[in-house]
Subunit: 327 residues, 2 copies
Amino acid sequence: MNKKLTLVVTGAAGFLGSQLVKALLQRETLADNHGIPREIGKLIAIDRVALQGIKDSRLDVVTGDISDGEWLKSILPATVDSVFHLAAIVSSQAEQDFDLGMHINVDAFRQLLELLRHRADPVKLVTTSSVAVFGGCLPAKVTDREVWMPQSSYGTQKAICDLLLADYSRRGWVNGRSLRMPTIVVRPGRPNMAASSFASGIIREPIHGEPAVCPVSRDTPLWLLSPRKAIEALIHGHDIEDSEFTQGRVINLTGLSVTVGQMVTALAQVVGSGVEEKIAFVPDATIERIVNSWPGDFDTRYANELGFTANDSFTQMIEEYLADYAS
Amino acid sequence: MNKKLTLVVTGAAGFLGSQLVKALLQRETLADNHGIPREIGKLIAIDRVALQGIKDSRLDVVTGDISDGEWLKSILPATVDSVFHLAAIVSSQAEQDFDLGMHINVDAFRQLLELLRHRADPVKLVTTSSVAVFGGCLPAKVTDREVWMPQSSYGTQKAICDLLLADYSRRGWVNGRSLRMPTIVVRPGRPNMAASSFASGIIREPIHGEPAVCPVSRDTPLWLLSPRKAIEALIHGHDIEDSEFTQGRVINLTGLSVTVGQMVTALAQVVGSGVEEKIAFVPDATIERIVNSWPGDFDTRYANELGFTANDSFTQMIEEYLADYAS
């Protein structure tokens, strides 16, 4: 089989999306739907705004609205091997604008599933879910068997997508893999409307000599993964063989449990004392309610078995940021 | 407050629906949205076919397609206090016709939520969910914290509705209560397209001297509730005060765990030996796969706390059937 793979990435101009496109184009091969390693022939990068800064003859940058089914149908080639679906309305925005969240997070995903449904060979569909599907009276460590009880519309919408992806996969209509992402830290760039945006901000801003606001208390535990590990997880999740999915297609990813206080201490250790003073602790009831409803620690037995890995320490996560984005 | 309640029942011509309409019209009062007992002024009974056999000046029988949003909007009065939403595509049919299941079980429910969303006073919305939301490697007794892992499109669709009902309730847009029904046994009438239809058939048909087919093995445990208890649960679930919902609006109902073998033994005890010979055990792989993916026993702590009750014995359930439907 010399046929090369055609990949699609949605949300490709976003942070994870653009990192993923870069990483995919650097790969020698990816596993196809039958587990056979194949080269990448074409990568279609979709977003509302054009993905910029990556030059590769295999890359096809397309702009448009993922929720426009007719348009999406028109740009999906007849032979798509894999879709990485990252386009989403983030948590705070989905809480502020319920309808927009349903429209993009649920309806656009369902439309994508329908577009992929009638293909002869099931398309690999890798998407990201969220720890926001959990909530209520949670144990200190959340296991793979923990009930879903989202306390936000974002968590609700991601849980609905998980259910749909699992059912379409069970029926053999897609070859789905949903990865429940920890909070990705340290992100470069500007704050976004994710309720967890502060978790990158309180590290990133002080490193660049700028002030940061932390809307939650120091003892808040967060479940974290670095951008490098997140991209690794997306590609690893894509390549897992079907037979390994003994407990379904929805996977609580590996991560590192760290409190906000520990994050700040590690920051001072890496970049020197004084940096702490850049962080103002100003409680925000809405952000606190959402973030405190998420689990701060997991026992990710299934993800461990499937070969996902996490960061060793938060210090390592800061050092990755310094190496990758702060030069 | 002398204002009387306006109630809506969807799926009103179905078995549970018609029993519920009867039971509601016999009540002195129901709790309104503020917990105040009020008389029933009007009950709108909606279904594809007309509810028949119930005469009451407060009853308004309406026929139409619940998935037609414009029509539903036109028949919902400006002041609806409570909706009992029972209309659904049952499990085997939703498995055979995925699109029909999504259309009625998910999209029509979502349309109903949207129609109720913009009311000044949140409408009480009582609906039924299913043990089919569970699946995978289940413990012998499923607790309130068990992860959702549906192995059928019906279970998937009911889980999506549970998530939506919880989020709309959290936002204060409806006052929702979703009751995860056990298998309702013994139903009168003819078999339907529920995968669990045999569970009534193997009792009902022999009682009437007719043969029955059992598509699952004798050691299959089932989680059961009688029709009387199910109707009680719907009305109790409606009347629970908001402050009691300490663990959300989705409730695994109380039930009784009985194996198929124990059901047959109880039948022989109640109606005499010989009746067993009417039951042919003919395995059906599709039904077995679906039924075996459901939990056969629960620890329903939350439902117990909320005051739901189950049958004491399967013998009692047969006797209820004989008293209510076999005369």
